[in-house]
Symmetry: D2
Subunit: 278 residues, 4 copies
Amino acid sequence: MLRGLTRAGLGDIGSNERFIELAAQYGFQSVDASAKELVDAHGVDGARALLEKHGISIGSIGLIVQWRTTEEEFRAGLSGLAAHAEAAAQLGCTACTTYILPSTDYPAAHFMALATRRLRTCAQILGAYGVRLGLEFVGPHHLRTRWANPFIWTLQETLDWIDAIGEPNVGLLFDAYHWYTNELNVDDIRALRPSQIVHVHINDAPDVPVAEVLDNERLYTGEGVIDLVGFVRGLRDIGYTGAVAQEVLLPKPPAESPEKLLERSKAGFDKVFGAAGL
Amino acid sequence: MLRGLTRAGLGDIGSNERFIELAAQYGFQSVDASAKELVDAHGVDGARALLEKHGISIGSIGLIVQWRTTEEEFRAGLSGLAAHAEAAAQLGCTACTTYILPSTDYPAAHFMALATRRLRTCAQILGAYGVRLGLEFVGPHHLRTRWANPFIWTLQETLDWIDAIGEPNVGLLFDAYHWYTNELNVDDIRALRPSQIVHVHINDAPDVPVAEVLDNERLYTGEGVIDLVGFVRGLRDIGYTGAVAQEVLLPKPPAESPEKLLERSKAGFDKVFGAAGL
Amino acid sequence: MLRGLTRAGLGDIGSNERFIELAAQYGFQSVDASAKELVDAHGVDGARALLEKHGISIGSIGLIVQWRTTEEEFRAGLSGLAAHAEAAAQLGCTACTTYILPSTDYPAAHFMALATRRLRTCAQILGAYGVRLGLEFVGPHHLRTRWANPFIWTLQETLDWIDAIGEPNVGLLFDAYHWYTNELNVDDIRALRPSQIVHVHINDAPDVPVAEVLDNERLYTGEGVIDLVGFVRGLRDIGYTGAVAQEVLLPKPPAESPEKLLERSKAGFDKVFGAAGL
Amino acid sequence: MLRGLTRAGLGDIGSNERFIELAAQYGFQSVDASAKELVDAHGVDGARALLEKHGISIGSIGLIVQWRTTEEEFRAGLSGLAAHAEAAAQLGCTACTTYILPSTDYPAAHFMALATRRLRTCAQILGAYGVRLGLEFVGPHHLRTRWANPFIWTLQETLDWIDAIGEPNVGLLFDAYHWYTNELNVDDIRALRPSQIVHVHINDAPDVPVAEVLDNERLYTGEGVIDLVGFVRGLRDIGYTGAVAQEVLLPKPPAESPEKLLERSKAGFDKVFGAAGL
């Protein structure tokens, strides 16, 4: 497994180039970033060279397509997706991710039908470039009633949705926070095949009742109550070898410098990965 | 368009053979019946000969698979589906139909995901035998709140679901009662392509406020307030040439004999089809 | 059915704008042209206004993706396809077309597998914008042995391939020349459903043995030996209502002016459509 | 990895029950056998108990559907497939396999289109029961020209075909004999993901030039020249944990008793698995 980073929780870390440089400096091996931005800025060869120089791979790109609102917005975003997938493939990145809000103001069944078709189309385009689509179920209780109608938020529902989408390249973005807020355990991870996991997020939760855990009040890796050692051990046991990218959503920008935050993040990974024997 | 019958509204009409004979006697051209029962009873050649003798075709077979409950029930029904599809194909029937209840006790979004995958599998098996799957949206208001969670009941939702299922051989079972209870008009029919319609049901509704129309208190064709002349004209205008099968769901068995009910049904078709210039 | 034009056989007819203007002037109703070029030049509203002013619709756009060679070329072309589909949808065009060469230098079975996957991806992207993909089987005998290995060239093979591709929005580009060189008749057209036909080409063939008919020595509509009256009657009989676009491939640029060629084309359509009672 | 057996090379080993008993007796952990036959003979619970008693699992069932000839034969076989898949699922078997002949008397491209659609339908039915479909590429040179037209026989072609089929549950049946006759090496195995392999066959080849190796003159595991230690090491390295089933196709029935042949087979597995550190 690769030690990975997203920008979430690192403050204003600056350009992609700075992000890559600092990630490497603090012992990380992957960053979640836009492959297309890198290719646009450096060309394919330049972007490859930049990543290689720092020993960094791209863990995942974000899905640029808006699939949660109108057909117009969906179509508009879709027209650029192939170029993002192509850039990802050119830089060796095979993961693209999006999250599922657990409730919606649209009628739930109809929205599920629309979203199934839209995400299938996204998966088909990504698949043409060898890129997989990872769907992140989102567990915090407050979001389950945040909008008018419940949608889906459990692991099993998400696996069933992946079956409904029906494309070979769709799987999970598995986030420790949502694993925790769904009150899942290590055996739930062990029941998965590694091919079902496209990407992984890591972070930690405060010591409050699980039903009160807020999505954007996350803690840094190893600083909270989630059994992260069990989490990464479970992933290792089933043979997952991809990136585990820290994502710390916060209510407001952190006060510390990016360097301090990276140091803290590194310490968290050292603690968790060390205890897990990774 | 073919004048067609289902058993609904004809009382105890007896065996398939009697149903076919009487349908022909009263000027009908198709019946909705199990092709497999006919093939099992008469062999392929015998069943073909029986239908030909009476000038009757099979309008549609019913989907034998239970897709609305557990995975176990779904799988159990699925194992027999191919044999039903094969029999339909052998007798020249290319339509298989099922209806969509407008509400459900399952969480709606998750159920939509499960049902999408299950109906896709059904469509794929049917498709191997050249049989299409028609989905019937169900309009009556009382059923929209009959179970805990709203599902789907409109034409547009059903078309969107057909897109989500994503198989070339899935379309609509278009029922006059649901067209009426959704307060659709003839232009809504004209906006369809004939290839989107797998099968058609006809019947009539009592003169009560549309929100109070009950699903199982239907009237015989031409005896109520639905604009059935517009309905069949719309279908003709877009080039639909398949069966239009009467389906009269009633609260209790009709008092009249099957022969009387067939006579009444014939009169209704004469009136509606005549006024429509068919 | 719409009287349509491609540029093939019209000499140097100039810009899209000129093509549209002249098409209208000579009584045509559609042109095969790039929707994206029109949108890029005039904006969506401007392009729509231009088409409306002349009473011209876009019959089909060409598939810009190279699916017959390497994966690299395929991927490179694919990244622009959604923008072309989006422009087509914005201008009301729902057809995109490509042709199938009847032989190939690649091993035939492997190439069929690759091409199936590639065209499916194209169809999926087009489908997201409501655009269909029409595949043109190519009949002339000399092309069946032009490259090392026979591929496919018959109507039935193409229908079977469409089934293998398996997307609801794939159908035929039906060209009178290939209908003729495959020695098909009007009943072969009548056996089709209109939903199987995405687009139609019309043109004529010289009075030589059918095995000697060359793909790029076509005649103008109504000037040769093809039973074009039967051809368009067959299409009308099954309910095809789309564009019938003239495509006259020639060994060298025609000597006459575009205006003379359009006059001649108009006369051909008048003759054929007139005799067919269209 | 599980030590597995097929019946090929074991002489007349008798009933399924005897096959299971003997397999266990000689230290094997899986057999390739018909789950449906077992369920028909013992009921689901009885069949499960029989397998559990002997510590044997079913490695794979054979695809009962004839997809290589006419549509009639295909459809006839298809109607029974779901029951076979259901039985497999009930007994915990998730693999169904078929082989690809490297040449065909049908036109190759058209046959590829037909076979793509047919195997997709099979995969869809199997997938409804959680069963995967493994395609076996067949390497021996003599079969590449055995029928009129070359089809496919390489690993890469088969992977490309799996992409063309496009279902998530299709992968490889990887047979040591075809790996050898395609002159592949261990790195070719290491380039695969374990999820691409549905089932594995093991056996050995005589010391003759590779182009002269005959498909039905195989040797017992460890008695020939194939680098089987590298073969199973490669599979282990990528994380394959399923069955490795011996399949020894012979020109005529072996002279030795099933018990002798099982002893010999066990010795071969001991040698190969032992040397590989398994």
